[in-house]
Subunit: 325 residues, 2 copies
């Protein structure tokens, strides 16, 4: 019997990525196109359906060879209803029944998953999470996303808002986050807030090599911070260490909440390599309790930008496995 194959689609505000993945978790094709989000939902949905077709063709298959389609979508959404509620980076989308639209256009069973959950499921299914049944993933980019696998199952929660780990409060009464809360992990440890914290310190007059960067480019990025920190800049070192410290707090808190074997770090900030991993591990080891020896292993995810579409394909595999579609 032929191996079952799944199409995964990762819908982003800038690009739509997709591909075919088989049940052995092997990627058979990989395609990417601009989202053209400004042209509105109908246009984007048409592009997505076309992409499904292209991905199938490039894998050397026909639609008959595909078991199901999985979509990872940003913003608030409902897995149960298959609806995108109101994604901040897709203008004009409101309560769009994306799952059923793609199902109609492709004629294939389709499932819809939150993009951060899909990426975490991708790593669990085909990446750095393989071999464990209990995993947490932090995606460190412009924002901080999360995903939780517990006992081999994707944790979605009652409101389909599970694992919004960037909005766990790590500093009560702390920095205002874009979500309206104060002291969120994201408001300290995301790439954008890391840059912003450095910028605020420079603007407040603290000496740093980052002043020149700020004057030249009008902003300070987290890459600027990590580079300056690696070169011994005091301010940058402090800001970066604070980022790592709050990520360690979040790791310890997830240790005590869902008690995973492994915590994965993904997203653009992992480009900092050991400058990110080492201090997080050190802070977490210093900070955690001594009552039990259950601090999870903290490692990098391995699928990179493919995690989204591979995870979406994996979500389709899962939905079929559980008889959901």
């Amino acid at each position: 019997m032929a191996r079952r194959c799944f199409v995964g689609i990762d819908l982003g505000g800038t690009n739509i990525k997709g591909g075919v993945v088989d049940e052995d978790r092997k990627v058979l094709s990989r395609v990417s196109i601009p989202t053209e989000a400004s042209k509105g939902p109908d246009h984007v949905i048409k592009l997505m359906a076309d992409l499904v077709g292209r991905a199938i063709k490039e894998a050397g298959l026909s639609p008959k060879g595909i078991d199901a389609v999985g979509i990872g979508s940003p913003g608030s959404m409902s897995h149960t209803q298959g609806i995108i509620i109101k994604p901040p980076n897709l203008p004009g989308w409101k309560n769009v029944p994306l799952r059923d639209r793609i199902k109609e256009l492709t004629g294939l069973p389709t499932t819809l998953e939150n993009d951060a959950n899909a990426a975490a499921w991708g790593e669990y299914w085909a990446g750095a999470g393989r071999g464990t049944r209990h995993m947490v993933m932090f995606t460190l980019g412009t924002g901080v996303g999360g995903g939780i696998i517990t006992d081999g199952r994707l944790l979605r929660g009652h409101f389909d808002n599970g694992a919004e780990l960037g909005h766990m409060i790590v500093q009560p009464g702390g920095r205002l986050c874009g979500c309206g809360q104060k002291g969120c992990l994201e408001a300290y440890a995301s790439a954008s807030y890391t840059g912003r914290r450095a910028q605020e310190a420079v603007e407040a007059g603290e000496p740093s090599v980052l002043r020149e960067t700020f004057e030249r480019t009008g902003q300070i990025t987290s890459e600027d911070v990590v580079k300056a920190a690696n070169n011994g800049d005091t301010l940058a070192g402090r800001v970066w260490d604070e980022t790592c410290f709050y990520l360690a707090v979040a790791c310890v808190n997830m240790q005590h909440a869902t008690n995973p074997e492994r915590i994965l770090l993904a997203g653009g900030m992992t480009g900092a390599c050991n400058a990110l991993l080492d201090p997080i591990r050190r802070h977490a080891a210093e900070m955690t309790w001594k009552a039990a020896d259950d601090l999870p292993e903290i490692i990098f995810a391995t699928l990179g930008n493919d995690a989204g579409f591979i995870g979406a394909a994996g979500a389709a595999w899962l939905a079929r496995q559980e008889g959901e579609i």
Copy 2:
């Protein structure tokens, strides 16, 4: 066919409680004896086996009428191995294979569960958690315990240490907790630490009606704090509000982590009634994000001191349901 019946045993440092519960979640008997913990594990295990027999007899049944036994046990333990590792309040216990010992002595299939998880499962199975599939419980007593149900399943985690919610860090670098961490929820919001925070403020010279309590009894309890707060004492009001504030932080953090429909509060501190519930709800509502309307309902648990043994019986039901025993 007769309804299947389960014996639940709640092993505490002071008392052992037990009873028979049927599959319709009806309590058929209820017994309690002193633990006599100072006499060591063999003695206590014998008492537990005797208690199983008494509970069966008082339910008007014979051992043949019992499907399985569940034990809720304190301290670090392994559900998978059925072993109590090293409970702080049971002297002389170390790596005791409690599950198999009780199984041998009673001749009944037996399962072992962490006591906080058992209590949460009890509320889910037979109490305030009925009707939802996603629930979190905080048990507020001398310490702060936790339990998580996600998608109808008890979350145990990889190391069997899931839902140690009292040790989530709510104030990085904050008060030293008994577990060795700084800034744990428990170090602010447990009954003992609530009393201790008030005591420290009194000892530091702050005016309060609690000074007289402290001088008379040598300590300040959380009941003293809540009573004084209810009577308008400024210091007590501030300390109590801080307790409620940190509990609200923990509620919001679990909203974003496992995204439950309902958060239950259990344990001795719930005796404070609305003086506890109202400020937690108010703080959580003020503090939570506006990005989605997913703040869980925060309510009291309903099984009281019976949650432990009912949950242990429910754990036996669950273990049979899942073919584990």
